[in-house]
Each structure stands twice: as structure tokens, then as C-alpha cells.
């Protein structure tokens, strides 16, 4: 059976050109980028080339890019590093209720060190109102961090307006662009943010390499102390191959992002429009317009996400869900709950995130196999029986 991969948000496949670019650095070009000999300098040059490419993807200068091992590390680095650098004067954080765990939990850790957090709410589309961010700002706000796009519901935030309010008040602003970078055009100067996280495996690069953009002059404390790698701000021997892969992926994304979006958007829109039509009691989650071009997400009433996911997997489709049962922590998606969905509905979450190369026929087949799966699961659901009998679940 043909496999159709609809889990972009967990990680995209790696482009063959990216693999090719990486291979020499796993084989003959094994030098440590900190070494002064020719092998080392070859690796160092490759790192700088990758830095240029990542910078170009987001309109930054190469000297403003710091490589990390993941998106989570970039977020931890931004939150903890920027907050702690300002802790003598400022001990207040502003984040949204739908941030990634790496932001939410970093804020929790900072609370243990004496910081206070304001969680800015979202509306039913998962959108943060910039006025709410403005209202949350205090004289002692150390940092604002609002994600550019959410991976569970696809909503894209009006970061530019928020960044303008932050700048007025002299508060640094970070944005987690992990789900967005390489998929929608980003210009850090246009956005006006001081820091931005991205990761390669969201745009056909390898896992294991991400980056934090840090505007020149922005203060940060290192998370990893040690040598002088990354200007002394992120110690540890660099994963040259992964970083080269990230650079190559950024270069490709810059050129091809528009055509990816052009191909995926109509397919995404078909899913968003047709699924709720062919299956009763299905709602599309996230914002109808302000959303990632590859992203369609839903809540299917009366059934649970993991069982849907397993059935879809058996039919050849790789998908993901924000249900409690799918998460190892057995918690329903904080994103869906923050958007005002009740627990039962949030349990029926299913995310279909497309990758380059998905065909219209793949979507046809998905629309064909999905309704019987839902029907089957609903037949055994006590909530559905209650619904049919007119009892309130």
C-alpha cells in the first residue's frame, strides 16, 4: 500500500540534495570546526556558509544566527537566556496560552527562579489579540514570546503588531517560528522581533540542527557554558553535518517555498472544506485564512484521536493528534483547551499536515477512507449513542 505522509509538523522528509550536502561531513570532511588545521578550517568554512544561508532565509545577518541542536533548545535559549540576562531589572514574562511546551516549560522553570508569567489568551481561532499583549506589558517585563505559527492548529499570529508594541516599551520580543520558518516568507526586520527560533526538519532538512536568530545588541546568557563555539554563546562541538544540512535546506526553501505553498494550499483547502461536509459533526480548528499553507486540522466529535490515527495508519496515512491518549503525559492539547474547546471535543483532534509531493489523488483517497473509519469508531462510542438518543453527553 502506498504510504502518504501527512505529519509535516512532526518532521518533513529530508531532501536528497540535503543528504548529498551532508554526506562528506560524515565521511572525509570530519574536522572539528574549532581546529586550526586544514581539516578544521574546512568544517569551519562549511558552518559559516550554512550560517549565511539560514540568515538569508529570514532576512538576518549571518552574525545574528546561533546554531542549536533543536527547536526546543532554541526556545529554551531565548526564554532563559534573554530573561536571565535582564533579571536584575525585569522579572516578568509575557507568553501566549498556546505556546509550544519548550516555551511554556521554560517559563515555568523561570518562575521557580522568581519570574512571573502572564499568559495571554487566544480566541476560538487560536489567534492572539495584539492589544492583549500590549495590555500585559509592565515596566518590569523582561521578555515577550509569542509563536509565529502554531503547529497544532496552524494559526499564524500578527507578530508584527505585537513587536511594535514591545519596541515602544523597550521590551525584547522572541517568536517561536519553528512551524513557520522555511514554509512562509519571514523577514525579521519587517516583523521587528529581536529573537526567532527555527529548525531544519520543518523544511526538508535533517533533525538535529536548529537556530536562534538574535538581533545584534540583544543580551542573552548562554545555556551551555564551555568553549568559544557560536561566539561563546552556545558551547559544544558543532554537529557540522546537521548544520550543513540545515543550511542547504534553508537555501532550497528560500527558492521553492512559494511553489510548495502554491501546490499545497489548494489541497489543504479541499480538506478544510470537504471533511466537515462529508462527515457530520466535524469542525475545522484554527483560523480559516491566517494559517500555514500545509496545515489542516480538525476535531471529530464523539471519538478519540489516537484510534482515528491508528486506523488511518493502517490505511496508509501518517497523521497526528492532540488527544490526551496520544500524548505520553495523557493530557489533552492545551492549545485546543485554550481555544475554548471542551475536553471531549479536544480528544477528537486530528492534524493533517501536508508535505511537498502530496498529490490530489492522495487527498481523494483520504476523503474516501476517512468517513468509514469515523463511522466505525462512532458505532462503538458511548458519547455518540448518548448524542443519538438526545441525551447531553
Amino acid at each position: 500500500m502506498k504510504r502518504v505522509y501527512l505529519d509535516h509538523i512532526a518532521g518533513t522528509p529530508v531532501r536528497p540534495e540535503v543528504v548529498e550536502a551532508m554526506l562528506p561531513f560524515l565521511r572525509e570532511k570530519f574536522g572539528n570546526a574549532q581546529s586550526l588545521h586544514s581539516e578544521g578550517q574546512e568544517a569551519a568554512a562549511a558552518l559559516e556558509e550554512a550560517r549565511e544561508k539560514v540568515a538569508a532565509l529570514i532576512g538576518a545577518k549571518a552574525s545574528e544566527i546561533y546554531f542549536t541542536s533543536s527547536g526546543s533548545e532554541a526556545n529554551n535559549f531565548a526564554l532563559k537566556g534573554m530573561a536571565l540576562a535582564r533579571k536584575d531589572k525585569a522579572r516578568h514574562l509575557v507568553i501566549s496560552a498556546i505556546e509550544h511546551q519548550s516555551v511554556l516549560h521554560s517559563a515555568k522553570s523561570l518562575e521557580k527562579l522568581g519570574f512571573e508569567t502572564t499568559l495571554v489568551p487566544v480566541d476560538r481561532f487560536g489567534l492572539v489579540d495584539p492589544q492583549e499583549v500590549k495590555k500585559a506589558l509592565r515596566p518590569d517585563t523582561a521578555l515577550v514570546s509569542i509563536m509565529l505559527a502554531n503547529s497544532e492548529v496552524g494559526t499564524i499570529q500578527p507578530i508584527k503588531e505585537m513587536a511594535a508594541f514591545c519596541r515602544e516599551k523597550g521590551v525584547p520580543m522572541h517568536t517561536d517560528a519553528v512551524a513557520a520558518a522555511g514554509n512562509i516568507p519571514i523577514d525579521v526586520n519587517d516583523l521587528g522581533v529581536d529573537a526567532l527560533s527555527l529548525v531544519g526538519h520543518q523544511f526538508y532538512g535533517p533533525k538535529g540542527a536548529g537556530a536562534l536568530y538574535l538581533r545584534k545588541g540583544t543580551r542573552i546568557l548562554p545555556l551551555i557554558d564551555g568553549g568559544i563555539q557560536e561566539g561563546g554563546r552556545r558551547a559544544g562541538t558543532e554537529d557540522v553535518a546537521a548544520i550543513v544540512g540545515l543550511g542547504k535546506a534553508a537555501e532550497i526553501a528560500q527558492k521553492e517555498m512559494a511553489s510548495w505553498a502554491q501546490a499545497l494550499k489548494p489541497l489543504r483547502d479541499r480538506l478544510l472544506q470537504e471533511l466537515p461536509k462529508i462527515i457530520p459533526q466535524v469542525i475545522a480548528t484554527g483560523h480559516p485564512e491566517r494559517r500555514l499553507p500545509y496545515h489542516a486540522s480538525f476535531c471529530v466529535e464523539f471519538i478519540e484521536g489516537e484510534s482515528m490515527l491508528l486506523h488511518l495508519d493502517m490505511q496508509g496515512f501518517a497523521t497526528s493528534s492532540g488527544s490526551a491518549c496520544t500524548s505520553r503525559a495523557l493530557k489533552a492539547s492545551h492549545v485546543l483547551l485554550a481555544m475554548g474547546l471542551d475536553h471531549a471535543l479536544a480528544q477528537g483532534s486530528i492534524v493533517l499536515s501536508l508535505i511537498d509531493g502530496i498529490k490530489s489523488e492522495d487527498i481523494d483517497r483520504l476523503l474516501e477512507v476517512f468517513p468509514p473509519i469515523v463511522e466505525r469508531l462512532r458505532k462503538m462510542s458511548p458519547l455518540y449513542t448518548q448524542f443519538l438518543e438526545g441525551r447531553k453527553p
Binding site: T326, R328, P382
Partner: protein, 193 residues
Amino acid sequence: MIYSEKVMEHFQNPRNVGTIKDADGIGEVGNPVCGDMMTFYIKVKDNRLIDVKFQTFGCGAAIAVSSMVSELAIGKTLEEALQITNDMIAEELGGLPKNKLHCSNLGADALHAAIMDYKKKQAAAAKPKEAEKVEAEEKKEEACCCPYCDGPIEGLENYCTQCEVELVECPHCGHYTKKGEAACVNCGASLES
């Protein structure tokens, strides 16, 4: 795959799905907050389970557990069926992932709840005093375990080591719920103080 072949087999072809219109006992456990809900229907004749049906809202493990419980229970006497434990269910299914073990507890609980419901109805029909006794027995059974996995709760810590969650006691009914939840998973009372 995170599940054993046996779990996947039961998940794909669950046995005894459905309801029993004139059930002798109905057991309903769980709620959407913790992720799973199971309703068991039983038919009893001469102290034996002659039919068991279920409906489940939940993950793959919850569906497979329900199916296995129904299979294990049919034909057993009520006493034998009450001896069905979560360990037995998990073992019969070729094991469950650690964070899904609570599903097997839920399955055993739902079956036992259906049997208790039957006993209560029987007792009520016989004489009202007996019914009170059954109710007391039921209360005892519900005491002081993690609602998600049935594991023991560490003293004053209110922490379940098995599913690694912090719990809070509901001021209204005394049941435990995951810390941070807005409402008690048992009685629905608000936990926001």
C-alpha cells in the same frame, strides 16, 4: 507500532461491541477529561454472565481492553468475573505500554461496576437494607487510588508514581484528579480555588 499484535487485533476487530437494551447491570466509568470512557452492559442468568456488551470512547488500548474484558467475562460466574484484574487483562493482551496500563484498570472497573449495579438492583428488589450494604461496599472499593491507573497514591505527596501525575483531592467528593484540571473527574465539582 506501540501496541502488541494482540492489542491491534482486538482494536481492529473488537468483540461484543454494542449495548443491551434490557441489561441486568450497566457500568459506566471514565470521562472525556482523562481520555477514555467505557460503558459495560451485562446479562445475568443463574449467577452467570451470559452476555456482555460494551461501548468505548478512547484510544487503541481502551478499545482492545474493552474487547478483551468482554471476552474474558462471558460465561463466568459473577464471583469469577469480579476476580478479573487489570494485570490479567494486560497479560492476555500481550502487554500494554506503561502509560496505557490505566486503560486495563478502566476495563476491569467498568465490568465490576456493571456487576455491582446488578447486585444493587437485586438487593433493592429483595430488601432495601441490603442495598445500603452494597452501596457501602462500593464506596470502600472506590477509596484512595489514582483515577487514571488505580495505582496507590503516595502519602501526603498526592502523586501517582505509575502514571507520573500530580493529583489533587476533590473537596466535594474526595476523589483524586490530575492537578491543574478545572473540574473533578468523578463528580464534576470545580477545583479552581
